[in-house]
Symmetry: C2
Subunit: 176 residues, 2 copies
Amino acid sequence: MDLFTAIEQRHCYRGGFTPDLIPRDHLRQIVQAGLQAPSGCNAQTTTFVIVDDPARLAEIAAILDRKPVREARALIVCIAEHRPVYNGLSFAVEDCAAAVENILLALTGLGYASVWLDGVLRVNDHARKIRKILGVPETREVRILLPVGRPSEPVTAREKLPFEKRAWFNQYENLT
Amino acid sequence: MDLFTAIEQRHCYRGGFTPDLIPRDHLRQIVQAGLQAPSGCNAQTTTFVIVDDPARLAEIAAILDRKPVREARALIVCIAEHRPVYNGLSFAVEDCAAAVENILLALTGLGYASVWLDGVLRVNDHARKIRKILGVPETREVRILLPVGRPSEPVTAREKLPFEKRAWFNQYENLT
């Protein structure tokens, strides 16, 4: 798929998924796109667990009981390692987000859909529970979860502000 | 350009740029890719100033005196608005990083190169100085700066860990 088509067609998808299994070759290709994302000082602080075992998927869906998680054929669990890499600064959040964006584009390019689940992991102890199930060390944070599958419903765009409201040449335009 | 080719060919580039001007159509297309990135609760907290005025470019290069900034034909200044959008959480850093990744892929697809400048803005008051030059309100943060141009030197990949060291199926593999 063309790059700009993928960027345009990537939308957050909160619907259900078809029962089609996802070949591991596709899962590898999708996560590989995440590994190729930039990271602060090339520290590569983001790691991934790709869950495609039905029993394990069910365990996670029991914690995060939402339609795309229940029906996902795979979950990509994105794990951040917070550690200073430059002048006392950690770029773990940026690293993880850039990797996730590559992953979302890659899965869109292969005909899958997903939704970036993030804040919901940080309530009700969800992230810690998933961390324990997957054997992730305490020093790392389950930061973002991406349910993946072939969408069984239309994938629709959310409304976005036009260019003129968010970008300007040479001078910030204070709209407030 | 094919999506996966763009993902593979995007590298941080710290070299010089040719004197070729960048058409505004390209700059708009590149930043539009950033606007299409996802954001937490669709809050669209990232805004942009695209600097292509030579006098303004020189003002910023006087603050951040580095080769890609000095020789850039345009700078994309990425601005974050930190505000809670879900359960007291702000996703401004994630939003900005996802937008930047789309922008880096878009400019790669059009034959340009860039480098993600981030931590360097947060030392020596650099971000605040650039914020003032561009008229960005105090409530927003100049977070990431992307120098853009046609590379005048080879764009080379930095070494990355292989898949097996950063991703696993169904269970985290503790390598330490």
